[in-house]
Symmetry: C3
Subunit: 344 residues, 3 copies
């Protein structure tokens, strides 16, 4: 898609300097951009790179002295880049309807403007809102509700009775509503506890590839508005994750834990079950929460500690073998001195 610089200014809310009629075809990074592209400068330290850049226009922060004719000036160039990229990508696949090879139950209710690809399977009494796209191999079990303008990629599976809000994105093979991991010990072996609750994904939630959000034993597992999960993330049954949280790949939250809003979980981090995590909590990569966490903290390690303390500790630990030796030498020297002193 081609757009004028004026259109891109409008889309991104940026101030335009230069030729509003300039035609732009792509957004591209500084080092790869060609004529006809717009690029962006999100970090002033790369300013020098602009000298050799062939882009026709640049998105920059205000106050930078950029010797270029065509600029979009905005306080958040990275966000403007994202908005322009979205615009240039064009609208999502328009409503193509139910394509041949899709398998739809008679009792399902699909809005007119959906797209259901070949090989997608829609179960009994499913409801799918307008503008939603189901890719091949998507499976919606009986009684699932999917809102408007959702994008469910191939192999995404939503089990019985689960609810997705509007603009929810499931990456390929995201698994919504598998059984929670619950068993009652029966002397020697384990008796399965039926998991009869559901999963609710609120509006604007995105779930990564092969990430698993388990259904509740009773009641619901809930992921609140705007929260984004990377790939291979695990959420246990009856957990709740607040609004606008970020979970990076291979992290996990165990059952019944409640997480507040605006939290971030680094890669391979973990939270044990039945805990409360406050708002604005950041847990670093590989961090592990084994106790409740108050709001507004940045923690790392297992057990968790303030990030700076963890850094200091990490630097010291390799020195422990040498410290043991020193400690033994001191002990010997002190004993010698004590002996000499008492001899006197």
């Amino acid at each position: 898609m081609v757009a004028t610089l004026q259109q891109l200014a409008d889309v991104s809310g940026a101030e335009l300097r230069g030729n509003p009629e300039l035609e732009i075809q792509r957004v591209f990074p500084i080092d790869l951009a060609e004529e006809g592209d717009i690029t962006f400068l999100s970090n002033p330290k790369y300013l020098s790179k602009l000298q050799d850049c062939r882009a026709s226009a640049v998105i920059v922060a205000p106050g930078l002295d950029v010797p270029r004719e065509n600029l979009l000036i905005t306080a958040n160039p990275y966000l403007a880049f994202a908005k322009i990229l979205t615009f240039l990508q064009g609208p999502a696949e328009a409503g193509r309807g139910v394509l041949p090879g899709a398998l739809i139950s008679d009792s399902a209710e699909l809005a007119d403007s959906v797209t259901v690809h070949p090989g997608a399977v829609v179960g009994e009494n499913v409801v799918v809102g307008p503008g939603t796209v189901l890719h091949p191999g998507v499976v919606l079990y009986a009684g699932v509700t999917v809102g408007a303008d959702c994008l469910l990629h191939a192999g995404a599976i939503v089990r019985e009775g689960c609810c997705l809000g509007d603009r929810v994105i499931l990456q390929p093979s995201a698994i919504i509503g598998a059984d929670g991991f619950g068993f009652a010990p029966d002397g020697a072996s384990y008796y399965k506890i039926p998991q009869v609750g559901i999963v609710v994904l609120e509006d604007d939630v995105e779930i990564g590839a092969c990430s698993c959000i388990d259904r509740a034993a009773l009641g619901e597992t809930r992921i609140r508005r705007g929260t984004k999960f990377d790939n291979l993330v695990q959420i246990g049954h009856n957990a709740e994750v607040g609004e606008d949280c970020i979970m990076v790949s291979q992290s996990g939250i165990a059952g019944s834990t409640k997480v507040g809003n605006h939290c971030t979980f680094g890669g391979q981090s973990a939270v044990a079950g039945h805990l409360k995590i406050g708002d604005n909590v950041t847990i670093g990569g590989r961090g592990g929460a084994t106790n409740n966490v108050e709001s507004n903290q940045m923690l790392t390690g297992l057990p968790l500690m303030p990030h700076r303390e963890w850094l200091k500790m990490s630097m010291s630990l390799p020195k422990v073998p040498a410290m043991r030796k020193e400690l033994n030498q001191l002990k010997k020297r002190l004993a010698e001195l004590e002996a000499k002193f008492s001899e006197e």
Copy 2:
């Protein structure tokens, strides 16, 4: 489904006190239960919650003084809860046969009472036992054997020649029998070793969503009766896991390791390859076994150590930077004292 209190007493093996004709519709937690529900008190410390509870009946342990008219009394209320929940859920989907849109090889042998959903694919010479349900997107490769009353959820894949016992449950996208990770270094690059063995899942095994049990190079990878895996678990080729084990999400066991019975592996824990783990071993979350482990131990950490030792160590480690400083001060003071002493 509605049941009388007498039926629920029979199902759970509990002693009934009160009205055997009382009709119960649901099991629900103490704080959410309504009239017509049965609830359960698994922990005596929540006894006070019963005062405001609206449930019509309560499952309790013997010896508790519960001022309620309708009780089911049993030594294991949690197990009784699970059994009653199973009963109220009703029987699994009755044998609906091969539904339109299922793709079944002519040479497959399906028992009359199976259910095969649209979009499931059954390969050549597959055998499926009575009462088994295959959800959409299940793929059984050639020569697979599945026992009776199994439940294979959407996207579960069983590769060629693998065997599932009775009452096996595969959560969505569980992968049984992918190639083991075996390569022979060939100077510069890697030559793939064909993985011609199989996977055997014995009776009552459950495999979580996106968990992967690799086929053996030669011979078999075996998961024994009653063992349960959570989501995103990895089992390497030729591994064996004993009976009634539990593996929590994102844990893994590398190739050729043999695990005994009644072991528990915490979330994100790992066991290296070619090891022996005894019976009744518990490895805590994030623990990592790099050596054989004798039976009857509870271990944590990397390397593993007794859980209590790990706790003590963890509390001490953040103090190492301060210890280093102290050690240096002591050294200086000792040197001064030594100097003074020798001056005399």
Copy 3:
């Protein structure tokens, strides 16, 4: 398949000693081999096991005194074993064409000798090379290119525009080209950055079950020739992994990181984003790279350190609680001595 010992010598490049006409049916391990099998001795310490071994022939390294009539002698018995196993397994499934129940777009170009199983879905403008096999539930989005002699197992998904070279293997539910995890903070919430780049898997790459290789934001994520990933591995957007690398299960590489050739990443290890890892780097299981890594190193731990140093440190850490006590005792004794000395 049955082969003569001569054929197996030719296939493996080994020197034949004994009867070239001897017929061999299987390769099997020493302890399980029967008459008609060939076995292999990759480790001389198992030489004594050969006494009771019933195999008809043995693959051995030169210089070993093996009292057997029929031998294949080669410097790399393990590699010879792999080559013979491949040969005995017979050729891959011959080109069976598009089988009934496969869903192929009219605009897709499939070579004559492909095999497309029931339930596989091939999107618009896809190109698939000769000899390639697509199992049930494989989904190729629009514009995907797949080379010759590839093997895509059930549930493997390749999203729009991604490119696979020749002889690429995707294990079940490998996910190629899911959206990279990129969002621009927009004050309170997150604005999705469209991920318009692709993934390129070069020749001879193998991706494990439920492993996820994210598409680039702009440009490409690239996995170079001969690299092999185990199951449940995560590769972030715009990452590059060099030739002949190995990533063991549940490991991950974050976005924009560049990895050299011949690197090995242990199970559950991780590399942070925007880093450079040299050639011939080995990161041990659970290791975590938070900084660039120079070539030719073997590192472990978080933060990374030389493997030996990590081992020494690990042995010392459990002693820190006792060291703290000793340190306090020394402090007291020293203070006493100082006091006595100053009294004099």
